[in-house]
C-alpha cells in the first residue's frame, strides 16, 4: 500500500451494473498526489461482464439475446479477462492507485489479494492464489478455497500526464449461488458458439465456506473496513503466485 496513505474505502450501490462498472472504470481519474489510493466496493443487480475478447466470439448477438432474455444484460469491461457474472451476493472491489515506475502488475494484484486475504483470515480462512482453470474467467490471480474459485482479479493500466495509474478489480462471491453463476457463463458461451464448460463445483462462496457466520456483502465490507482501520492489510513478503499452469498454489498468510 502507498506508505502513509491507507486506501479510502468507498461503498456504493448502483441500480444497474453498467453504472457500477462505469464508476469503477472512472475511479483512477480521482487519483492524485493528495489521494494516491482509492478502494471502491460496489454492488448492483445481475449482469454478465465480458472481456473485450468475448466481443469477437462467433455468435455474440445470439448470446446477447439469450442472456438478456434470462435477465443477464451484457457489459464489457476494460480490464481484460473473460465473462464474469455479477449481481446480488457478489461484491465488486476496485483498488486504484498511483504506480511508481517499479510497480508491477503482480504488485497491484498482490495488494488487492492481500486485502481480501486479511478479511478471509478474520473468518479463519486461508485463501489460495492460483489459476482455477475450469472456473469462469480463469487467471493467475484467482482466489480460491480448496481449489474452488471465490474471486477473480483483473487490472487496467492508464497514464495521466506523468502519473501511471493502475486499477485492480476483484469480483468476489460472497453469497451468490454457484449454480446460477456457472449456468449464466455456460449459457453465454454455448450461445456464442464457443462452448466452455463451467461446473458449479469449481466455484465457491464465502457463505458456503463459513456458514456459521451467515456472511453477507455488508458484513464482509464491515470486516474489510475494520481490517483497513487496523492496518492488517499489508501484503506479506511470502505471498507468491501460482505458476502459469495453476499447478501450484500458495496460501496468503498474514
Amino acid at each position: 500500500m502507498v506508505k502513509g496513505h491507507p486506501p479510502l474505502l468507498l461503498k456504493e450501490r448502483f441500480s444497474t451494473a453498467a453504472a457500477g462498472l462505469q464508476r469503477q472504470e472512472q475511479l483512477a481519474g480521482a487519483l492524485g498526489p493528495e489521494r494516491p489510493v482509492l478502494l471502491l466496493a460496489w454492488q448492483a443487480p445481475q449482469a454478465l461482464i465480458l472481456g473485450h475478447s468475448d466481443t469477437r466470439l462467433p455468435d455474440l448477438p445470439r448470446a446477447r439475446s439469450a442472456l438478456e432474455a434470462a435477465g443477464w444484460p451484457l457489459l464489457v469491461r476494460r480490464s481484460g479477462g473473460s465473462a464474469c457474472p455479477v449481481g446480488p451476493g457478489t461484491l465488486q472491489l476496485a483498488l486504484a492507485r498511483v504506480a511508481p515506475a517499479d510497480f508491477s502488475m503482480d504488485a497491484g494484484y498482490g495488494e488487492l489479494a492481500g486485502l481480501l486475504a486479511a478479511v478471509g483470515a478474520s473468518y479463519g480462512l486461508a485463501f489460495e492464489v492460483g489459476e482455477c482453470a475450469t472456473a469462469f474467467c480463469p487467471g493467475r490471480w484467482d482466489i480460491a478455497l480448496a481449489g474452488r474459485k471465490l474471486a477473480g482479479l483483473s487490472q487496467r493500466w492508464q497514464q495521466r500526464g506523468n502519473l501511471r495509474l493502475v486499477t485492480t478489480a476483484a469480483s468476489l462471491n460472497v453469497s451468490a449461488d454457484p449454480h446460477s453463476l456457472a449456468a449464466c457463463v455456460e449459457t453465454f458461451y454455448r450461445h456464442a458458439d464457443a462452448p466452455r464448460p463451467c461446473s458449479p463445483t469449481t466455484l465457491h462462496s464465502l457463505a458456503q465456506a463459513v456458514p456459521e457466520h451467515q456472511v453477507t456483502c455488508a458484513k464482509f465490507l464491515q470486516r474489510l473496513a475494520d481490517s483497513l482501520a487496523g492496518g492488517r492489510t499489508s501484503l506479506p513478503s511470502s505471498c507468491s503466485i501460482a505458476d502459469q499452469t495453476g499447478a501450484t498454489r500458495q496460501e496468503i498468510a498474514l
Binding site: G51, S53, R78, A101, Q159
Partner: protein, 126 residues
C-alpha cells in the same frame, strides 16, 4: 538504416528509411501482460499527439492503454492483430507491431531511449 527508439512506457518506435515510424510494445511489456487476447488499434488517418491514447491491449488478466510516444498521423494499423493478437507475444518487435505513422515532429524522438538505455531501464525495474 532503420533506427529504433524506446519509451519508459515500454513502447518501441522504429523509424524506417522512408521516414515512416512503426510502433509496438516491447518484449518486457508483453511478458508483463501475459497472453494477449485483444488489441484495439487506431484508425488510419488518425492524428495522434504525443501522450494521446493510441491503442488498447488486453491480456487474459490485464488491460493497458498504449499512448503515443511521438506525434504523427496513423498510416496503417496491423490488422493481423485482430484475428491473431498473440502475435504480440510471439514477435513483439516483428509481426506484432501495432501501427505505422508519419511523424509530425521528429525532434520528439530525442526524448526516447536507444536500445542500450532501455535495457538498462528495464534492468532497474527487476
Amino acid at each position: 538504416m532503420a533506427k529504433i527508439y524506446f519509451s519508459d512506457e515500454h513502447e518501441w518506435v522504429r523509424v524506417e528509411d522512408d521516414g515512416q515510424a512503426v510502433v509496438g510494445i516491447t518484449d518486457y511489456a508483453q511478458q508483463q501482460l501475459g497472453d494477449v487476447v485483444f488489441v484495439e488499434l487506431p484508425d488510419e488517418g488518425k492524428d495522434l499527439a504525443k501522450g494521446d491514447e493510441a491503442a488498447v491491449v488486453e491480456s487474459v488478466k490485464a488491460a493497458s492503454e498504449v499512448y503515443a510516444a511521438v506525434s504523427g498521423t496513423v498510416t496503417e494499423a496491423n490488422e493481423a492483430l485482430t484475428d491473431t493478437p498473440n502475435l504480440v507475444n510471439e514477435s513483439p518487435q516483428g509481426d506484432g507491431w501495432f501501427f505505422k505513422m508519419t511523424l509530425s515532429d521528429e525532434s520528439e524522438l530525442e526524448a526516447l531511449m536507444d536500445e542500450a538505455a532501455y535495457n538498462d531501464f528495464v534492468k532497474g525495474l527487476e
